[in-house]
Symmetry: C2
Subunit: 356 residues, 2 copies
């Protein structure tokens, strides 16, 4: 899934060039390239579909040249995660009704790829078990990240503890307040919802038919044309008609047999600038410097990101985000990062769409 | 005089592109262009000499295309103001022994050009009086700026008050401490030394012969070749041999008949970033924004300068200097502006000469 705008990572991330297509971490690869490589260790390249907005087709072509146009599903409108997942599931189902499918956002950060592969294998095996393959149960699996602090910006999954690697989900709680998040951590049987899902295509298609019948009706109408030259015309016409809803809200919270694999890898949704600060190595003054060459005096706790090799000279600046690109410079306290969206909107209103 | 490096205006001003060649004020003209135009109202273009370092010849050619190469005096080494003024005086003397000469820095800010012209006229007339022309007295005139606050970075001129427009100078005091500067202002008969001088060429050449005889001996040796094709060879060979000394220290502080015309115009030596902040119009939050398009929140008292049209978004930044150029970004409290030189040196040591 690579259709988001990443507005909290503005001004680096923009509508025309969102964060999944940036090397936000300064790692030598963009987030979508890293995500592709991570999944390609488990899934053959030719089985990977990219779900993105029409306007990002060129970016996908450039950054993932091994992905054929037939594997890039272009959404003509932003409709959240449920519709694009159903669309992909139907396309896969047409090719292989017995397929097991993994859904992953393209803009997350996962350092330990070996652990990721191991956890994904556990989920695959669970879905591959005979009971499920017979369609006896709507087994939907999500990877749950072990929470390290009471983050109020994530979704939490509570599960029934057991000796199994795959645990039954009790409930989803989206963005709890701090006290609630603290309670969750104390209880222990909670995980962060990483938005990485594993299921049989048959199971998820059935779930859509059951829980989002309108959407199922519209999109399954495309079965005859999926994976043909006529697919894009169908999508262009029908996709905008479907409900704008997330897979969590539309399916998972209603599913009867949702399970979680508590994951062992370190993870970040790279939701905003501070998540980048948290993930990167600090210099001796606790500054994170990406791409820039820094000279600093009495300056600490800052996140600085520029184009490659730009000199940044800081004096007496503390706990700020400094992001510089060709045409925009942002200087803002780290703790105000949630206001990026407001500032971005002001720039949009005042100086136009091409900057946000 | 256009040979300085302007290191306190780094990172805008650099050794290869110093501040006099920048449109620091965002006025549509560089400082040297503004200075040329200001003087050209009183002096014919063809009588204006540009004294600068060899390496700035191209910049002068580009920015002042009306100035012939024969009128650009290229210093092969930095030797402060005295030697270049003597060199210019000798060249002028060879053309016109009766000339009156005005010396002016190319990087100062003067808003009220009409007042500047009036004050300069007063000084010209004083030098033009018959007594002086006969060489009876070494009348050297400087324009003195009425101090508006106890600035500790300027030179002060004390003078004997009188009804005359041209007043006798008692003493020069370079960069007094704050208490002394306060006393000067309270006394009233003090002016800032603007480094703008008016004198007969005969008088200043005589003064050099008297007070800096070694320098006079070396440079006057070039009389036969000045204003010929051989001048530059002579200058290149002999100029580096002369003493490195300012005109104030070398001549004016020793002169017997130094006078000051208390000037009526507003002036700044544009010595550092704060002087730019002081001179420019503020927005409603007391920010000075040059070239940038700014969105700010809870940010005041800042000086922001970028390339034309760059968007700058500030949140919770107060009393800072933010200067952005292609390859360097400086973020520093206004009150630390004197440390620019140190930071500049650090960048030079760490990242090389081409950045400073």
């Amino acid at each position: 899934m690579a259709g988001g705008v990443g507005s909290r990572f503005w001004p680096l991330s923009t509508e025309n060039f969102p964060k999944q297509f940036h090397d936000i971490l300064g790692a030598g690869q963009t987030l979508i390239q890293k995500t592709f490589d991570r999944l390609a260790q488990l899934v053959p390249d030719e089985n990977i579909l990219i779900l993105t907005n029409e306007r990002y087709k060129t970016l996908v072509n450039e950054q993932l040249p091994m992905v054929k146009d037939s594997h890039i599903v272009l959404e003509p409108a932003m409709r959240n995660t449920a519709p694009c997942i159903l669309l992909a599931a139907l396309k896969i189902q047409k090719t292989n009704p017995n397929a097991i499918m993994v859904v992953a956002p393209s803009d997350h950060w996962i350092e330990d790829e070996a652990s990721f592969s191991r956890d994904l294998d556990i989920a695959f095996n669970a879905c591959n078990s005979s009971d499920v393959k017979k369609g006896e149960d709507d087994l939907l699996v999500t990877l749950g990240i072990k929470p390290t602090f009471p983050h109020t910006g994530y979704g939490y999954i509570s599960y029934s503890d057991s000796d199994q690697n795959v645990k039954k989900v009790n409930a989803f709680t989206e963005k709890p307040n701090y006290e609630t998040a603290q309670k969750f951590l104390a209880q222990g049987n909670y995980a962060w919802n990483a938005g990485i899902f594993i299921w049989c295509v048959q199971t998820i298609v059935d779930s859509f038919e059951k829980y989002l019948p309108e959407m199922y009706k519209i999109l399954s109408g495309g079965m005859p044309v999926f994976n043909t030259n006529h697919e894009q015309t169908f999508v262009h016409e029908e996709y905008p008609k479907v409900e704008n809803i997330s897979i969590d809200y539309g399916i998972l919270e209603k599913g009867k047999n949702v399970n979680v694999v508590p994951a062992t890898f370190d993870w970040s949704d790279m939701g905003a600038w501070c998540s980048l600060y948290d993930k990167k190595e600090k210099d001796s003054d606790e500054n994170v410097v990406i791409n820039a060459n820094m000279i600093s005096k009495n300056s600490s706790g800052n996140l600085v990101r520029t184009k490659d090799g730009k000199i940044v000279v800081l004096h007496s600046l503390k706990d700020f985000v400094v992001v510089d690109r060709e045409d925009i410079l942002l200087i803002m306290p780290k703790e105000k990062e949630q206001e990026v969206k407001i500032l971005r909107q002001e720039v949009k209103d005042k100086f136009g769409n091409n900057l946000v």
